[in-house]
């Protein structure tokens, strides 16, 4: 059996689903941030696989993946800074406790 585009896409879809489930269900904001990173890396796998199998003469997908990594790092930095600010104010990072505004 040779590894083809489908295998990479299934891996990417499974990772994305795991990340999305975690982002919506985790009770720790740091874990939510990690789950978002899993989703972004699922996208990276799909991008690079498509780049290799569909548009192999161009490196668009690879370049896209590098941009995603760079931006994800910036997003994670801001996210962690905000989580630290919240932790200092409240002593918790549980999103169900962070509900000072009424719904």
């Amino acid at each position: 059996m040779s590894i083809g585009l489908e295998h990479y896409l299934v891996l990417s879809a499974v990772l994305f689903a795991i990340g999305l489930y975690g982002a919506l269900s985790k009770r720790n904001t740091i874990a939510i941030l990690l789950c978002i990173e899993i989703m972004l890396n699922a996208v990276n796998i799909a991008m690079v696989a498509f780049s290799r199998y569909v548009a192999s003469e161009m490196l668009t997908g690879h370049v896209f993946a590098i941009f995603i990594m760079a931006v994800a790092a910036a997003e994670a930095a801001v996210g962690l800074a905000i989580i630290i600010a919240i932790y200092r104010q409240r002593g918790t990072v549980d999103p169900t406790d962070i509900d000072s505004m009424k719904r």
């Binding site: 994305f16 919506l24 978002i36």
Partner: protein
Amino acid sequence: MNLELLAPEISLAATAVAVILLDLLIQRKGLLAVASVIGLVVSAAFTIVMYGEPSRTIFNNTLAVDNFALFFKLLFLGIAALVILASVDYASKLERFRGEYHALVLLSALGMMLMATAAELITIYVALELASISLYVLAGFLKDPKSSESSLKYLLLGATASAVLLYGMALVFGTTGTTQLGEIGQQVQSLGVQGIIDNPALILGIVLLIAGFGFKIAAVPFQMWVPDVYEGAPTPITAYLSVASKAAGFAVIVRIFSTAFGLPSWLSLDWGIVFAVLAAIGMTVGNISALPQTNIKRMFGYSSIAQAGYLMVGLAAMGVASAGETIGQSTILFFLLSYAVANMGAFIAIIAITDKIDSDLIQDFSGIAKRSPLLALALTVCLVSLIGMPPAAGFMAKFYIFGGAAQNGLLWLVIIAVLNSVISAFYYLRVVKVMWLGEPSSAEKVPSSGALRVALTLTSLGVLGLFIFADPLIKAAESAAKMLGS
């Protein structure tokens, strides 16, 4: 290389860096706002010089400099200038990081300008994140528990939406083999009916793109973040989010969907109907949730969900209209212009009032008209415009956008939209009633700073001016929509 076509963006980026450096050097921090506004005016001057010239693309077709993009650039620059004027009182309370506050406003405006110009998926993503990450930080700038909470919610949901958007981009890239919007459009057309049906990944990609951008414009069902973020963020930033960030989302959606997925016409009909259904649900949910609100920022959060619904009526018309027809695009442009002016005006008046009464509750606005009649009058004019009653900009905008939809056979949607406008009158007019008929809690006047007065005068005149001079501006919006090149 045509770097001069990027002059508005380059000068704005330079101003943002200069403002941070200036913050280290000067003692009179008030000058930072002056420097920021000067930078915005310079950038706007570069943009105006380019306006009206034929469409061009630069950097290997990644950026399209056309009238559509220039229209949005001017809109964002104007909104950013109003936000900076409205922040003068707010910023003076900040002990540190005032330079960063102004620089972040400028940088997110830069991101939004690039969003309107970008004609390629990677560029769209990077521009979107530049705008978003700056706004995440700005939402949490006050560092009180509410502000941090709103920032955290915005960041976590925004990042999740970005991931969904990226997955959609990956699928679109995978099925078409390119990230350039015009080339995607050619590929999609060459696939043909059977080709697209055999390619469910492309359809899924389009759906995920709608979901990802739906978050940005606060479309149902991705609107859950709006009330909390709007309530907790500093009020000038709430205004910025509700107007500029929404307009940027619409700019990208209009460009992607008209350039890449505009043809074949059955495909555009399909996404047109998706937007029509989202519009109908969005305005109903937004308006009905706004009715019982007691906090004015929260009420505006829900009302902005409803306004996004009205704007999506334009997107629906864009999808349903026959190819080459630009009625949907031009109505969206004009509606965004009038919504931006009216909503910014309303928020500036709210900033001036809440700053003095020190409360965001609608009941505390009681009798403001007796304490400062001009402030109450300006807020009333803006609220009347948001309802869509004459003599204000909102009336022309709604008339135009709903008319465009009705012409294209979306009469059912127009009926829902008009009924919704009636519902919205209840909560907007309740604020007016409280201000004019309520008893003032004290006789003390509500003085406001010079910057706020200038900003409020400009927006109130804008609201009335857009009603009186609607014709030439609608013509300008139409020509900008026609110049949407690829």
